[in-house]
């Protein structure tokens, strides 16, 4: 196993995922296989190769920094689990 349970726990914490004990066991096994599989990239000679961030190698287009959207807060908040007075509600953050 190229990954152990502690590492997978750390990854799940970073990814904000709560896993059950069964899921941990399975994740250690399957993620290890995936990591072993992608490890074959280390054999490729990439000295001097520029990393490719965009398939067409073009720069991201920018637009003028002006307001283009109208306020649709009420409509967008219809999909939220809990809102009040236009605010999204979450458990208390500061005691």
């Amino acid at each position: 196993m190229s990954l152990d349970k502690d590492q997978v726990q750390q990854i799940a914490t970073l990814a904000r995922l709560k896993l059950s004990d069964d899921e941990y066991a399975e994740s250690v096994e399957k993620l290890s296989r995936i990591v072993d599989f992608v490890d074959q990239l280390s054999q490729a000679d990439t000295s001097g190769v520029v990393p490719m961030a965009h398939p067409l190698n073009v720069a991201q287009r920018l637009r003028p920094d002006v307001v283009t959207e109208s306020n649709e807060r009420n409509r967008y908040q219809e999909n939220a689990a809990a809102v009040t007075d236009g605010l999204y509600l979450v458990p208390k953050v500061i005691e």
């Binding site: 990814a15 904000r16 995922l17 992608v38 990439t46 190769v49 067409l56 999909n79």
Partner: protein, 487 residues
């Protein structure tokens, strides 16, 4: 009119134009078929019958008034990854089971403006992560050619609906093969256009440097028709490319004389099923008989496509899917103890196994200490693979090969082994890594199951791919074959 479902989109357009039937009659006939067959196939997450009939009535009225766009009255299905205003948009996930989109994706808007009638939203692998449709929260889609087999994925619902004649065409998306692989496994045509060709505004993101929208149809002409409406610049998508859209339908008739077809040596190795390889070679021979010239091309880095993809795609997905936090939209876990518990449980309970696996893979390859070894390395290898294509395209117009290593596999056969599942996309992933347009056209059968010929083209040269597929369809009948149970 008992055979409307058997007709292609282009044939239906002719029938509507001639007044042989109305869009309402056509729409009702297809809704009836969906009602009769979809319990078996599970190709739909949502059927929008009332909305479809209302749209069909509007299309008929427009036609009567001498108006109506390029798709007036023609029924289609949208993959459930495209936002549709007022209609549930799930992306195949429990996370979005309650999500009703407040807006339309650009392609949804463009197709509606052209008069298309939307029959419903197609089932898919969760967040488009899968090659078998088995990762969907709504259960797997069945392959119309053999109900015990997968239709492929992630656009399995789109492909199955078109193959089973529940709809003449469906939209789909492709990050590593998700249009072309299910098209091949269901005997339909699927095209993934050039990166940036079709707007992704309102298309739920998986891996943003790879994702592209396209269609699944029963002919190249139908795909040309739809792509003409979907393609083109959209200022709301920052990756949309401002290139003129050619007349795809008009380009179909041109002969293949002198067309150079590259055949990748590495795509005919031991990983390819013998019969599938034989069908592919026969199809290339047909292209040669039509005037094309086949030459072997070498792509020394292509074998690293799948491992490259399984670093780049999960990395981007781990970032894209961080928006699902249980606060603004989507699933929220009940009774959270605190904010962190709300995030972690909403995501842990809302996402399925494969999506969590990819988020974690992506988190790992981007994390401190591993970034250079995995993510940076993969982006470098990606450059090498793209260069393999560019070098090949100096000599050839299209690259041809098999779409998949085998015909459709049994449901459940690969679900416990992520690597075997990932290798299904071995021939299709390269086009995504390099942003090239690619399509799969039906090219015969292996033990009663369809397989596809894969064609990859130069950037923005979808027209040549469609022309090739159309010429091939004029001398073969594979694309007209219908699974017996759905005639």
């Amino acid at each position: 009119m008992t055979d409307l479902h058997k007709r292609t989109l282009s044939e239906l357009a002719g029938g509507l134009e001639a007044g042989d039937f109305s869009s309402v009659e056509l729409t009702q006939a297809l809704l009836d078929r969906i009602g009769a067959h979809d319990e078996t196939l599970n190709a739909f997450v949502t059927v929008t019958g009332d909305e479809a009939l209302a749209a069909a009535e509007r299309a008929d009225a427009a036609r009567a008034a001498g108006e109506g766009g390029a798709l007036n009255g023609l029924p289609i299905v949208h993959k459930d990854i495209f936002c549709t205003e007022g209609v549930k948009t799930t992306c195949g996930s429990k996370m979005l089971d309650n999500f009703v989109s407040p807006y339309d994706a650009t392609i949804v808007e463009r197709m509606a403006a052209a008069g298309a009638v939307v029959l419903g939203k197609a089932n898919m692998d969760e967040f488009a992560m899968g090659s078998s449709n088995e990762t969907s929260f709504y259960g797997p889609v069945k392959n119309p050619w053999d109900l015990a087999r997968s239709p492929g994925g992630s656009s399995g619902g789109s492909a199955a609906a078109v193959a089973a004649r529940l709809a003449p065409a469906a939209t789909a998306t492709d990050t590593g093969g998700s249009i072309r692989q299910p098209a091949a496994l269901t005997g339909t045509l699927g095209i993934k256009p050039t990166y940036g060709r079709v707007s992704r505004y309102g298309m739920i993101a998986f891996a943003s440097s790879l994702d592209q929208a396209g269609v699944i149809t029963r002919s190249a002409e139908d795909a040309a028709r739809l792509l003409g409406v979907m393609a083109g610049f959209d200022e709301r998508d920052s990756t949309s490319i401002d290139e003129p859209v050619p007349d795809y339908v008009g380009a179909l008739g041109t002969s293949l004389d002198g067309l150079k077809v590259g055949v990748v040596r590495q795509h005919f190795d031991e990983g390819l099923d013998g019969d599938t390889g034989a069908r592919t070679r026969e199809a290339i021979a047909v292209l040669e008989s039509l005037g094309a010239k086949a030459v072997e091309v070498d792509m020394p880095n292509i074998d690293l496509s799948v491992p490259t993809y399984y670093v780049v795609a999960p990395a981007e997905c781990s970032s894209n899917l961080s928006r699902f936090d249980g606060v603004r939209f989507g699933y929220r876990a009940p009774d959270p103890e605190d904010l962190l518990d709300l995030y972690c449980r909403s995501r842990g309970e809302g996402f399925g196994d494969e999506v969590k696996r990819r988020i974690m893979t992506g988190t790992y390859v981007l994390s401190a200490g591993y970034y250079d070894a995995y993510y940076l390395k993969a982006q470098q290898v990606r450059h090498l693979i793209a260069d393999d294509f560019k070098n090949a395209f100096e000599d050839v117009d299209v690259i041809a090969g098999p779409t998949t290593p085998t015909p459709a596999f049994r449901l459940g056969a690969k679900v416990d082994d992520p690597i075997t599942m990932y290798l299904n996309d071995i021939y299709t992933i390269g086009a995504n890594l390099g942003g090239f347009p690619a399509l799969s056209v039906p090219c015969g059968f292996v033990k009663g199951l369809p397989v596809g010929l894969h064609l990859v083209g130069h950037h923005f040269d979808e027209a040549t791919l469609l022309r090739c597929a159309h010429a091939y369809e004029q001398t073969t009948t594979w694309h007209t074959a219908c699974p017996e149970a759905f005639e």
